[in-house]
Amino acid sequence: MYLPSGVYHEHYAQDQAWWRTTFIRAKMVVLFLFLLVIFPLGANLYLVSVANIIGYTILSAMGVQLLIGYCGQITLGHAAFIAVGAYVSAIAMLQYQLPYPVGLVLGAIAAGLWSVLFGLPSARVKGFYLIMTTMAAQFITVDFFITQYVSQVGGRGTFFSLPPGTIRIGPWTIDSELKVYYVMIVLVILCTTGMANLLRTRVGRAWIAIRDNDIAAEAMGVNIFKYKLLAYFVAGVLGGIAGAFWISSILAVSPEHFQFSWSLWIVGVILIGGAGSLHGTIFGAMFITLILEGLKFAIIPLSDSFPALQERFLYVKEAAFGLAIVLFLLYEPKGLAYRWQQIKNYFNLWPFSY
């Protein structure tokens, strides 16, 4: 770990602190100021809505990052747990008139338990077979239970829409992009710090041990089954939070938002960002969202000669995303987080980089 010279820690607490030098503290204060004050005040509605999409992607990908990046359990069905969170919190609010924070917590817990249910086979199978099981989780949950049964609850049709004013935290009604942004940023900060702290504890180290070599971990006394299920639970909770946030953002919930392709999308996001890194989750989400938004502007000048580009932008976006995953895996397999470390190292060691 890099530390500038002249930093002397006198207590373990200082040594283990998150922000260890004045420079880092100042940097983080500036970052928080930017996220909480400058950006929301200065940005226009469009930028705020893009930021909300980034936040949703970060929240969705966080659980996948935990499972794939830290626990080594490949999952291709995470959208199912996001969907469970979204539906449980929506039903809690619509059918039982519970307040939004309660719905969010209920959704998160329900998603966590549902995720544990599908994590059970992970005790027996791994690799390809585990991937198949998680895919089955996706189809059984979203395409069967939610589409066919849960959507019938309350007779609203498959598309649950939340009347304006339903989503409120205490007296504070969340009805504009800016307020959604604040909910998002608080959730992202909570989840990220929660994850980062969790990864420094016994639990996190056990996960990393399982990822690196499950047989060795077992031999060293890590209860693999327990920790794998715990990983599924936490990942499901994070997915549930993402789902519950999503309904506050678009005030509706429908099975179409949680298709298999969204599961694949968030796995792609963490691979682009870098598996096994929390920075990676955030970088990946920002990179892919911003690139695709940028693409939207890039094709505007072309749209006079090729109007199809604009009409079918959704598919251009899909193709670009697919190409981005492939190219990243071929040329930058460790993701953006690794590149970020390299850049930081360069400046830390400059001008004597040997």
């Binding site: 490949i74 086979p121 791994k126 395409d143 694949l264 598919y315 899909e318 697919g322 492939v326 071929l330």
Partner: protein
Amino acid sequence: MDLFLQLLITGVMVGSIYALVALGWTLIYKCSGVLNLAMGELTLMGAYVCLSFYTWGIPFPLAVVGMLIIGFILGLLTERLFLRRMVGESILAVIMVTVGLSFFFRGIVAFTWGTDTRVFDPPVFPAEPIRWGRIVVGQVYVWSFVAALVMLVVFVAFFKYTRWGLSMQATADDEMAALSLGVSAHRVYALAWAIAFMAAGVGGTLLGNINGLNISVGYLGLLVLPAVVLGGLNSVPGAIVGGIAIGVLQNLSAGYLSRFTPGGIKEIAPFAFMVIILLFRPYGLWGWVKIERV
């Protein structure tokens, strides 16, 4: 009983199409160890290429041949450009490359051909159904069955009797030994992808003839997975039997179980079945028993 026979026969006929696509999947897995999640998009590509040729007025058999040639070239290109560098990478990286390819291909297909359902116009096969006693089967099913069988026989003969097919078998069996005998592994991988593209293209074309062609034909690529899990991942006969079994299972569950649920059982039954197989017999019917438990 009539209903059962009816469902069974239709199931076998649709299942033979699945078997064809599953064969392509197994081939890639057997030869190069790549778990391909882009199979559905390969079927889409092939089917739309064939449809385009057909709507330009090229007769159907020639359109299929043209599609096969283009599929062959695309298969070689895909392997050369994207998969060759991934040899020996982690399972997640390889799978995600195919996922990336599937997004890429699906984007291209939807961009080029749109998302509306397209049909082969004029219909390739006569609409008049064939009757055996009280069982009625559409001609398109019968012809698809015949076509799929012909393709399967051609592929199996190719593996058994040609030099290329034998070198593929050798690589699948023991790559190191095959290399030492002068078999080019890269060429085998490329050929596996080319054949997978061709098989998937034929499968997609046949399904497009049955129900019309839209982006959801790509769902076939996911149905292949239960089929190969049932048959055993690296078994060619297993893929064929598994494909037919999944077709039958799908039809039977649609016929008998759909009254108990609001719907969607047809889509979900193969995956529920797959989970059951994974729990009790993860290596399928004829796969190599090589399961590591921790």
